[in-house]
Each structure stands twice: as C-alpha cells, then as structure tokens.
Amino acid sequence: MTPIATPGQTVGPFFHLGLSYDRDSELVPPGSPAAVVLRGRVLDGDGHGVPDALVEIWQARPDGTIAVEPGSLRRDGWTFTGFGRASTGPDGTYAFTTVAPGPTEPGRAAFLAVAVFARGLLNRLFTRAYLPGDTAALAADPLLSALPEHARRTLVAEADGQGFVFDIRLRGPAETVFLRYPGQRP
C-alpha cells in the first residue's frame, strides 16, 4: 500500500531561528562575475508586503547542468550548489544573488523552481520564476502556453539593471500561479 504523505503546517513567525543562516540568499557572492540579483516582494491579498515569508530557490547552472554539490549551508564562496533561501524584510522584499540558470534541455525555457512559506500560509506553495528573453522558448513552454496571458505573466520575471524582479502575490486579481505536482493531494 502506498503510504500517505505527512501533512504540512505553517512555517510560523519564528522560522528564522531554524532556517536562516549566514549567506543563505547568496548562491554566488555579491559582485562576482555573472552575478545577478533576483528580487521581489511577497504580497498578501490586500497588497501588503508579507514581512514573515521565506522564499527558496533551486536552479540549474548557466549551462543548464544541475549541481550535486553540498555546501548550501556553509558557503565557501566558490561552490555553486543551486539552492538558496531568503526571508522577507519588513516590506515583504526578498533578494538573492545568483547566476541566471540555463535551460536544462536545449531550446527549453529557463526557470528557477520556487517554494514559498509564510506565517499565515498553512502549507508551502510551489511556483516557477521563468527568465525573460528567449521569447521562442517561453512561447513553446508547456506550462506557460497553457495559461491565459494574465496568469502567464505572473510566472515570468522582469529584467532590470541588476538582474530580475519576481513578485509573488499570494492572493488577489494578479495572484501568482501556484503549482501542484503529480502525487500531491488536497
């Protein structure tokens, strides 16, 4: 018999105690070659920033390969592990320094896998932050091409001078598209 999954619970207000660590949001050191900033705000249904949210990213390298290197919790400054974690500030802002991931298969759209946690959010949410630029790959992406334009827009980061901006709206008219994978039940 297939075992039934353990239920999730909210991360609560005090997750920094157990989950935050030194340089958790620095997948590469700030200012290093090819470093970009991925930043945005986590917003609630009233448009207010969520000051007690945690955003995790998991991504490929620029060449599309996936790191199998430990070291995310104790950054050595040169090993790229592909994983990072950022807690939001008072206005709901989070920021990572990382490198732009490449597509894991040639011709596919590149994205970062994103998990969102917050006080008031009873289980984690999954989404994707697609990188803008490769319009052909974005247009051909199976997920994006299946979504109406207003929903599709929530999944594509915007380029700015330093990198990319990706806001996460938990609720409301511009609500981010959140994802459910096979095997996940209500």
Binding site: T2, P3, I4, A5, T6, P7, G8, Q9, T10, V11, G12, P13, F14, F15, H16, L17, G18, L19, G45, D46, H48, V50, D52, W58, Q59, I66, A67, V68, P70, G71, S72, L73, T81, G82, F83, P101, T104, A113, A115, R119, G120, L121, L122, R124, L125, F126, L143, L147, L170, E175, T176, V177, F178, L179, R180, Y181, P182, G183, R185, P186
Partner: protein, 264 residues
C-alpha cells in the same frame, strides 16, 4: 507589564473560533471526500485570510530541475547540530527527550543522506527569537534550533528539550499545543515539506486552528509522535518516534536522466 494584557485589537473568544472549527468539521464529515493536507483556506486561523491563494493550484508535470533536490552533506551539518541540549555553558531546563524516525518518499523508500532541520520553543514556551513577546523566561542554555542528515536507511535523530505550549494572538486566550517545527527535503524539490510534530494527548489539540486546519482526523494524527519506550533511555531521556512521508514518488537525478534518455 505583561504586553499580552494590552490587546491592540479586540480579540474574539475561543468559543467563536471553536464554533467555526466545528462547522468546518461538520462540513468535511458530510462531504465524503478524504483530505490529507491542511486547507490553505481555513478562516479560524485568522492570519490565513489574506494569505491563501484564491485559485486552485495548477497541475503540472515536474521538469528536470524539479525532479532533483538540493544536495547537503557533512560539510553542511556538524553531528553536534542534532543535539539541541549542548553547545551552551550549562544544561537546559526541561524534560530531556529524543525524537527519532524515518523520512520516506511516497513509495515508502528511505530518503538517504538528506537534510532535516528543526526549531522550537524552550520548556517554558518561549522562542529565542526577537519577535517572541511571550513573557516566559528565555533559557540561557537553550537556543532551540537543530539539523541533521538522515542516514542510509532514512533515519533522523534529535536530542532536545520538550517544548512548552505558548500563547499567540489569533484570538483571546489562544494557546498552541507544544510542537517542534520540522523542515524536510526529499529526492525531488517537489517533495519539499515544512510541518510540525506534536506530542500525544495534548489538551490543546481541539482548540488549535493550525492543527485543526487538517480537517481529517486521521491525517492530523499523522503529525503526532508516538511515545516509544525503546527510544527512552535509562536515567537520561524520554523518547518519541515519528516517521515523515513525503509526497509522490522520489526520483534520483539518475532516474530522471534515464527517463529523459527514453525519449521524453
């Protein structure tokens, strides 16, 4: 002065929250569909009102990156990180306890050499966190954060202090059942889980909207550890057993490559 005695807003009584929970429970029992996870939309947990998506999650097949998981190793985790009772000048106050169990994927296979993180209040119900205003004492010998890697059979093990219940501002006289926060990774990023472990027989279960947001009684019981006298040790610590099952089948990067090579 007790900061909790000066409410910033009029807090509703427990009876209002309890009757809302009872109505949702009756609705669930009448629906005849089995749920296994918490509801994101659970109004008795007031903070969830503005923080739950209005639309259902979109069903999608995981792509390559989502079928893999971050890798953690001995470089990340010191073996002493699994003992929350050490690392301070003295011993912490409270009931010393060991919590252990296995992390399994949705097929029941052990999740090996993967990261488990925990955090918790101290024995008095106070978090060593700047935002915790509960006027209970901090323990200079207890921080309340730990980590370990599962072993080759998926086992984790922490030695800690049993946390106390603590009050919060969801409603008037709201108290959380004692719990440990758990953060777990699987072999795929899609299995990422953050949850809470509870202790058996807690009188606050029926009153707590976070625990009751899992409306199925068998499902929420999966968060309650079992007292295990074989984990309890002579003249030292009580012991609890709690297994964690992640969603969906696990997949190693190698499996994913094989599948892609098969023409996917």
């Amino acid at each position: 002065m007790n900061p909790l005695a000066v409410p910033a807003r009029e807090l509703e009584p427990q009876s209002v929250i309890s009757s809302e929970m009872a109505a949702l429970d009756a609705g669930y029992r009448g629906a005849g569909v089995t749920e296994t996870q918490p509801r994101l939309d659970y109004p008795p947990y007031r903070s969830s009102l503005a923080r739950h998506p209005g639309r259902a999650a979109y069903d999608v097949d995981p792509e390559t990156i989502e079928r893999c998981a971050p890798c953690f190793g001995a470089r990340d985790v010191d073996p002493l990180d699994a003992d929350l009772t050490v690392g301070h000048p003295g011993a912490p106050i409270g009931e010393r306890t060991v919590v252990t169990g296995r992390v399994l994927d949705g097929d029941g296979r052990p999740v090996r050499r993967q990261l488990v993180e925990i955090w918790q209040a101290n024995a008095a119900g106070r978090y060593a966190h700047g935002r915790d205003q509960h006027p209970a004492p901090l323990d200079p010998n207890f921080t309340g954060a730990g980590r370990c890697l599962t072993d080759d059979d998926g086992w984790y093990r922490f030695q800690t202090i049993k946390p106390g219940p603590y009050p919060w501002r969801n409603h008037r006289n709201a108290w959380r059942p004692a719990h440990l926060h758990f953060s777990v990774f699987g072999t795929a990023f899609t299995q990422r889980l953050v949850t809470q472990l509870y202790f058996p027989g807690d009188p606050l279960f029926a009153l707590d909207p976070i625990y009751q947001s899992i409306v199925d009684p068998r499902a929420r019981d999966r968060l309650v550890a079992a007292y295990d006298h074989d984990v309890t040790s002579h003249e030292w610590a009580t012991g609890y057993r709690w297994d964690i099952v992640l969603t969906g089948p696990g997949q190693t990067p190698l499996d994913a490559e094989a599948q892609d090579g098969g023409g996917a």
